[in-house]
Amino acid sequence: MTIKNSYKLLVIALVALLAYFIWNGSEGSESNYKTNASAAKNEAKVINVNKSFDYATSGDIEGLVNYADYVVSGHYEKLEKQWDMGGGYVSDVYSFVIDESLNGDLKDTISVAIPQYVTLYADVEGQSYSANLDLPNKTTPTSTSKYILFLKKYEPANIYTPAAVPFQVEISSTGQTALIYNKKISTLKKVETAQKTVVHFNLDNPNDGLVDEISGLSEKEILSEITNAVSQK
């Protein structure tokens, strides 16, 4: 290809790029918007109640170790109770038998809270309406799997809670590993009032953009990464 032909091609590319930018500019930055067409259509009759979180979040070992005061491996024994964590947050508390303490000095059996749901409220037309929505760490442990947990202690209740979202690595009886969390958090719940107003209760998903760099590693690799991260903490 000659310089002359390259020059022509570049001019064409430049014109095409300019046309692209002009075209997109005229439409605004719609790609960044998460539109809710149904809400807009029923604007007068729909009330949206949306909760957005600020959770500690990480998809890699180093991040989880940095958030956690304690890292333990072991297995869940039994469901102890349901626990009102305050602010409308409710968890299931399990007894957890520690096989090995990977960071910190925990041993024997501890109580671990797995957050399950949060209750959202809205006062509409003089009435109070509510809905329970599943939280991002909601999971149900199995008795046949081994788990590695990244924890912090809630001192007033002597219960260990997640240090982050997610906070559990499950190691199945066949040796498969997975970072586990609730991947279906964006559950919209609709409640209709006596006046036919529809209340949309919704949670903003804090796991958007989570890159899972743990699932699929071998148990040995995970333990090695934890040891390294703890030593650098």
């Binding site: 310089i3 020059y7 570049l10 590319a13 430049l14 790029l17 300019l18 930018f21 605004g28 930055s29 960044n32 918007y33 998460k34 539109t35 809710n36 809400a39 807009a40 604007e43 007068a44 729909v46 009330i47 949206n48 109640v49 949306n50 909760k51 957005s52 979180f53 600020d54 959770y55 500690a56 979040t57 990480s58 998809g59 958030y67 626990w83 964590m85 305050g86 602010g87 947050y89 968890s91 809270a113 957050p115 959202l120 760490n137 912090k152 809630y154 001192e155 007033p156 209740a157 809670t161 997640p162 240090a163 982050a164 979202v165 906070f167 903003d204 958007d208 953009g209 989570l210 890159v211």
Partner: protein
């Protein structure tokens, strides 16, 4: 001819390079009804239960947002007693939770919000930068910003180090400009 070729190459690169560094912010579906040209002012009150530390954190976070951009500003004052917008604390035992915001809206227009930082979290209690970061994050939601993807340097990033990132960053300011372009 050679000069023209070089000029065209430089121009093309100048257009393509910013495209690859495009902003990563995400926007909520709801926003304030800002009108063209003027700064939209959101009046906010303190809850009656708010602690001094939390009050200071929200005061600083409001100042951070107000000085970061001119599209929309918070007026946080004890004199806004009739406002439905509230900053407050919650006491949740979950140590992974730093705060949350409840936004109530009609259609795509925000009606009012409650922004909370979690004083059940020991880091929120013990670390002032973390407290400020959590307050700033919640006020960002109150402005209509969502969480950006993981690697973004942003106060809205759930993956951020809260002791390091506690003021609105360039991506956050870009998000505000996109949410309120006029």
């Amino acid at each position: 001819m050679k000069k023209g070729f070089i000029l065209c190459s430089v121009l093309t690169l100048a257009l393509v390079v910013p495209l690859s560094n495009a902003s990563a912010y995400n926007l909520l579906t709801t926003k304030w009804p800002k009108t063209v040209g003027s700064t939209y002012v959101v009046k906010v009150k303190y809850s009656t239960i708010i602690s001094t530390d939390a009050k200071n954190a929200f005061d600083t976070a409001v100042s951070d947002w107000n000085s970061a951009q001119t599209k929309i500003s918070f007026n946080l004052s004890t004199s806004n007693s009739t406002s439905s917008n509230v900053v407050t604390t919650e006491n949740v035992a979950d140590q992974s939770l730093f705060g949350d915001t409840l936004l109530t809206s009609s259609g795509t227009t925000i009606s009012y919000f409650t922004a909370m930082i979690n004083v059940g979290n020991s880091d929120v209690i013990n670390k002032s930068n973390t407290r400020r970061s959590a307050a700033g994050h919640e006020l960002g939601h109150a402005l209509g910003l969502d969480h950006p993807p993981a690697p973004t340097l942003s106060i809205m990033n759930s993956f951020r180090d809260r002791e390091v990132v506690y003021t609105p960053q360039l991506d956050d300011k870009d998000g505000i400009k996109a949410q309120y372009p006029l």
